[in-house]
């Protein structure tokens, strides 16, 4: 059965991919951050520790978020669709491109050090989202 996007199940599936494709994440190095993904009005929380995603959740949690990637539902669907069509984000749909000039996706943060973790770990986070290529998804 296809996993709906956006949903907590989608992020749980990506979390599982960090275990199944562990060699890809280990090659990229330590990744220690807890961040948010705001898709429309839904907030998902993602925690990374060492090499893998250790927790995902939906809604406001107790833990502080280093940064939140916030965009419209349409933007996120377009990004996930591009990842699936290209077997990984194409140049127009990388996390960096979408959050740089034009702010298609906003990076929200309270402190500078949390913000910089987005860039410190961007390669790992891109790989995390790129794992959507391996999922059977229903974009809605």
């Amino acid at each position: 059965m296809a996993t709906p996007f956006p949903s907590l199940a989608f992020f749980q599936a990506l979390q599982q991919r960090t275990k199944e494709a562990s060699d890809r994440f280990e090659r990229l190095g330590y990744c220690d951050t807890t961040f948010g993904v705001r898709i429309g009005d839904r907030l998902f929380r993602v925690a990374f520790e060492v090499y893998e995603c250790t927790a995902v959740g939906e809604g406001d949690g107790d833990e502080a978020l280093d940064f939140v990637l916030a965009g419209s539902l349409e933007t996120w669907i377009e990004m996930v669709r591009a990842i699936r069509e290209n077997s990984g984000a194409d140049a127009a749909h990388t996390l960096n491109t979408l959050t740089h000039i034009g702010d298609v996706i906003q990076v929200e943060y309270d402190d500078a050090e949390g913000y910089d973790k987005f860039f410190r770990y961007m390669a790992s986070l891109q790989e995390f989202f790129d794992q959507a290529r391996a999922l059977d998804l229903e974009l809605r």
Binding site: L28, G29, Y30, D32, V50, Y51, A91, T94, N96, T97, H100, I101, D111, A112, E113, Y115, D116, K117, F119, R120, Y121, M122, A123, Q126
Partner: protein, 360 residues
């Protein structure tokens, strides 16, 4: 003249006699009776392996260091037994607040864990399809030329100060060694980017050189750290993101992402180091402000230099986008300064006025 030890060891009768005795099997083993504090440290998280933080405990812990180190000026590692007669290596950075960051050990480990090798990791062949005389390609190679200079000066700055730091602060010294490698890798990667295929280096910029010289010739290590880790690497990180943003093939996307990644570790150390210094010694804030007043003047020179702003205009298609990029990067830099305890930078800096002039 090279340093000469005060004793002529080869003519010392005691040394010859003792060596002869030991060769006959008569061992003193005095050294074995005197040991540092026993330790039973192992990895707290097996996935990370044995980290510096895992062994930062007991008598070996950095937390036991005083603000001013007076007990050891030798090469002896922290926590070792210090016999009489150890030579001083003449360290001049002996105050913890001058160099310290609690994050140094973790950043050191992270830097090694996230290392990459430009020779093989970059998908260079994706550059084959690029027209070597396309204006955008010439612009990228010009920016690559600027980044080569910045990377090597970053290595130079870390190398210039590392050997002045007391051996008791080994976590920071290790981190600066990784900074040297990171700086060298920036230079290596962007030199290869500029020269791959039918490429070429661009033109060096006197204004970029002046900025880098101001950072390199900072009078103190805190000044060097603030101007390199906070200021320079705010712009290096931004240029990495910009390089990725304008990538038309995988090689530039890879290079931009990794440049931003590696630059962000300089930023993380710089923020925590400067914040710790100002917390411990608030008067240092004004010293750093005065230094940044001057270096940001040099930054204006770099941002306005034709060798920098014109390739950016070509890549972005208009000056307006470049100005927005400058404004955003300046704002991010000022936010980092505020986090480091320097919230007054925007009011003192010449950069906001320069951006206003560019806006017209």
């Amino acid at each position: 003249m090279s340093y000469v030890a005060p004793k002529d060891y080869s003519q010392d009768a005691h040394i010859v006699e003792a060596a002869t005795r030991r060769m006959a099997g008569d061992l003193d083993l005095d050294w074995m009776a005197i040991r540092g504090e026993p330790a039973a440290y192992g990895p707290r998280d097996p996935r990370r392996g044995l980290t510096l933080d895992d062994i930062d405990r007991g008598a070996y812990a950095a937390a036991r260091l005083p603000e001013i180190v007076r007990h050891n000026f030798s090469m002896a590692p922290r926590g070792a037994i210090l016999p009489e007669g150890l030579p001083s290596l003449g360290y001049t950075l002996n105050r913890k607040s001058e160099i310290w960051s609690d994050r140094a050990a973790a950043l050191f480990e992270e830097g090694k864990s996230r290392h990459w090798a430009p020779s093989h990791a970059v998908p260079w062949a994706t550059l084959d399809a690029i027209d070597p005389i396309d204006r955008g390609e010439l612009a990228r190679r010009q920016l690559a030329t600027v980044l080569i200079s910045a990377g090597l000066v970053a290595s130079d700055v870390a190398a210039r100060w590392e050997w002045h730091m007391n051996q008791e602060f080994h976590e920071v010294k290790y981190l600066l060694c990784v900074q040297m490698i990171d700086g060298a890798r920036i230079a290596e990667a962007f030199r290869k980017r500029a020269l791959y295929g039918s490429g070429s280096l661009g033109i060096d910029s006197p204004a970029v050189g002046e900025l880098l010289k101001m950072i390199f010739e900072s009078d103190t290590y805190p000044m060097a750290s603030a101007s390199m880790n906070l200021l320079l690497f705010s712009w290096v990180q931004a240029l990495g993101r910009h390089f990725e943003f304008h990538a038309t093939q995988a090689a530039d996307g890879f290079l931009g992402t990794r440049l931003a990644q590696d630059a962000s570790r300089f930023l993380a150390y710089g923020i925590d180091h400067v914040r710790g210094l100002i917390t411990a010694r608030p008067n240092e804030a004004e010293v750093l402000h005065e230094h940044l007043d001057l270096v940001e003047n040099g930054l204006v020179g770099m941002l306005g230099a034709s060798e920098v702003i014109e390739p950016l205009i070509l890549l972005n298609g208009s000056l307006d986008v470049v100005v927005a990029f400058y404004a955003r990067t300046a704002n991010e830099y000022f936010t980092r300064c505020a986090a480091a305890g320097l919230p007054d930078r925007p009011a003192r800096s010449p950069v906001p006025d320069f951006i206003r002039i560019l806006r017209g």
